[in-house]
């Protein structure tokens, strides 16, 4: 069952520009996480925002969460060619056996041109 939907599906920008990706979901959540995947590799956790938080920063990353609209955005500032990757949001709505069961969206493919 798919919960998160990222928008846009693909994004191309120049180095130095900001990149914004959005995620919408359907049900109440405990937290929302963003992951990055370089081509053909595993996912790397970027940032987690809890349902009672509205904004969170980590380096060049800024995540917002609007639980009333059931949406989140990931902003990457001053992008670099190395940021080229797919970005996934994952929602944690169900907790089972002391673990969050994450539901992943289909991702936004970001291309940053030098």
């Amino acid at each position: 069952s798919q919960q998160g939907e990222e928008d846009p599906q693909a994004l191309s920008i120049q180095e130095g520009e900001n990149a914004t990706m959005n995620c919408s979901y359907k049900t109440s959540i405990n937290n929302l996480q963003w992951y990055r995947q370089n081509s053909g590799r595993g996912l790397v956790h970027l940032i987690l925002i809890r349902s009672n938080e509205r904004e969170k920063h980590s380096g060049r990353l800024r995540v917002t969460l609007d639980t009333s609209k059931k949406s989140s955005s990931l902003l990457i500032t001053a992008s670099r060619a190395a940021d080229t990757a797919s970005y996934f949001c994952a929602t944690a709505a169900i907790r089972s056996y002391n673990t969050d069961k994450l539901i992943f969206g289909t991702g936004t493919r970001l291309q940053v041109f030098p």
Binding site: L43, S96, Y97, T99, F104, G107
Partner: protein
């Protein structure tokens, strides 16, 4: 740093073969997961394990089984591989203190 390793990066098998995918984590995490990733479908949970010998079905368990005999190792088994199981398989380990999943590099399985 958490390290999650998977036994193979690429694997080619024939229809009907029994396939073992292995995942090892070095952080003493209790919870581990197996996902498959397909274009346009994102990651889908196959099985997860919350302790040694304990497992729970995910969203798409059909055609798969799992084994967790030791805490650090979680194996995914395709009893009789089929072409529709051609996919990228990702293992993850869960840190309950940070609610974060740590992923292995993935195994790209092709079933001919």
């Amino acid at each position: 740093d958490v390290k999650v390793t998977q036994s193979s990066r690429y694997l080619v098998k024939r229809t009907g073969e029994k396939v073992f995918l292995e995942c090892v984590q070095d952080m003493d995490h209790e919870n581990m997961f197996w996902y498959r990733q397909d274009p346009g479908l994102g990651l889908r949970l196959i099985y997860f394990s919350y302790d040694v010998k304990m497992k729970e079905k995910g969203d798409i368990p059909e055609g798969y089984s799992v084994s967790r005999e030791k805490k650090e190792r979680f194996s995914l088994i395709l009893e009789s591989a089929s072409t529709n199981q051609t996919s990228m398989y990702l293992c993850a380990s869960y840190d309950r203190y940070t609610d974060t999943q740590y992923f292995g590099p993935g195994t790209r399985l092709t079933v001919l």
